[in-house]
């Protein structure tokens, strides 16, 4: 059998970009070709290498970009409007406020987490306070926004500034505050941040709160790459009934073939290690049986059958 055309399809298979018929042809071939199954694994590892070098723009860059855009737009003539409306005074002020609103800025990196938390709007800096205006030169206030001005009796001017500030925190993943921020970041809208955070947390999956976050991710994250990372973090914990339950959920509902195949691998691995879990794993037996009854993919069917054999379970759903 000619493997070359099938090999060419493997990355598209992993990206879920094959048509039903193409996927069917590739998976049928995979069932009978150990070399191509190995090639699929290598392909997955190759793509995983690139997962590790994804970069998320820093919060500082995003903030600077927003501010710079707001300033630039303020100089723009009003665009041609579909309906003519009289511009209201202060709209750009409101726009500037809006683009510098607090945002979810959890950006961990490296072995310690460096987390920037959003803006502290309308922050009053009392004169004379350490780090306040009294300690700043005029150059330091370049990015500040004047809230109010007031002449003082001595002829000086009292200025109240709104400032946007980032805050960084450093610490180890075991620190409660860091841990809490990281767990929150696993639900950030940014794919890159979630991937980076989940990758960090996989090293601490012996803690139940981290495992819970990873289980939430494999069940709910919309990005298959992030889900796969979380799944890898759970591979040493297949002895945990909750983890097996999460894997069973993935098997039941995840549309990504790589996720389903890996979940089967992990469930089988848990069965290989122990033979005394049958009562607790009744649900998993059911999931495998159900999957076997509806799964069209021969390779997946083969994996399910093997798992059921290991559990001494029937292939049929009664």
């Amino acid at each position: 059998m000619n493997c070359e055309p099938m090999r060419e399809q493997l990355p598209l298979l992993l990206y879920g970009e094959l048509s039903f018929d193409e996927e069917e042809a590739v998976e049928t071939h995979l069932e009978g070709c150990a070399d191509c199954r190995s090639a699929l694994e290598r392909e997955r590892e190759l793509l995983a290498v690139f997962d590790q070098v994804a970069v998320e723009p820093s919060p500082a860059l995003l903030r600077a970009s927003r501010e710079s855009l707001a300033q630039r737009l303020a100089m723009e003539p009003a665009p041609v409007a579909v309906e003519v409306k009289v511009p209201q005074p202060g709209l750009w002020d409101r726009f500037i406020d809006m683009v510098t609103m607090p945002m979810n800025m959890l950006r961990p990196a490296g072995a310690v987490a460096l987390v920037a938390v959003g803006f502290l709007g309308a922050r009053l800096v009392p004169a004379g306070m350490p780090g306040g205006l009294g300690a700043m030169s005029i150059a330091d206030v370049g990015s500040s926004r004047v809230r109010s001005v007031e002449p003082a009796a001595d002829g000086t001017i009292h200025i109240v500034l709104d400032e946007t500030r980032q805050r960084s925190v450093d610490g180890h993943v075991d620190d409660a505050a860091i841990r809490e921020l990281l767990l929150g970041a696993t639900k950030d809208p940014s794919d890159g941040l979630r991937a980076e955070t989940v990758a960090l947390l996989t090293k601490s999956a012996d803690a139940s709160d981290v495992r819970n976050a990873l289980m939430y991710t494999i069940r709910n994250d919309q990005n298959a790459g992030v889900r796969l990372k979380a799944l890898e973090g759970l591979k040493a914990f297949t002895g945990d009934a909750d983890v097996r339950s999460a894997l069973a959920d993935v098997l039941s509902v995840d549309t990504n073939p790589a996720m389903r195949i890996r979940s089967i691998d992990l469930l089988v691995q848990s069965l290989d290690k122990s033979s005394d879990r049958l009562p607790a794993d009744r649900r998993i037996v059911g999931v495998f049986q159900e999957l076997l009854s509806r799964e069209q993919d021969p390779y997946m069917r083969q994996l399910c059958q093997r798992a059921l054999d290991l559990m001494n379970a029937s292939s049929e759903v009664y």
């Binding site: 190759l46 970069v55 009003a78 726009f95 490296g110």
Partner: protein, 197 residues
Amino acid sequence: MAPNTGLNMDETALIKAAQAGNQDAFGQLVRAYDQSVLRLAMNLLRSPEDAQDVYQEAFLRVYRNLHNFRFDCSFHTWLYRIVTNLCLDQMRRRKVRKEEPTVIPTSDGILDRVETVADQRADGDPQRNLYSGQIRKKIKEVLGGLTPRERMVFEMRHYQGLRLRNIGEILGTTEEAAKNCLFRANQKMRAALGEFV
């Protein structure tokens, strides 16, 4: 993943409001998409200055031309078409200048994009350091060796999670052409990194 819109109103209504001159609505549109725009530009150009330029120019163009937007495609596709054109121009200029920066400032300082591989893989083991150093070199080679279009398709498919059909639409080509581009990128990556995985 769909961008986090956080919108107070339906996107169509928001676009129509922005077209009618409602600048709050325009601000909401910017916030709905600007993180993913900046991420795409940053990953492709790997220079914060260039990424910020693309970000600003893209949203300025949206601002100036929003009244011409007729909902023939999604707003996301239209915006990404602008962004990818700007990035492609920049990457082509770079190819001519033979520049390929890899240094990126992040929230915790300057980060070499490919150094992160070493950080995550090395664990202080000399042998693994050597191994990850080799991978690092190869990743640099392979990213530098992709054409701007191959980079674009790979970035949008792999990192932004866009479907090839959507990528084709953004780049003004067919799904098949985008697929071929991804295939060529993958071949080059496999040729460069195959021995390491």
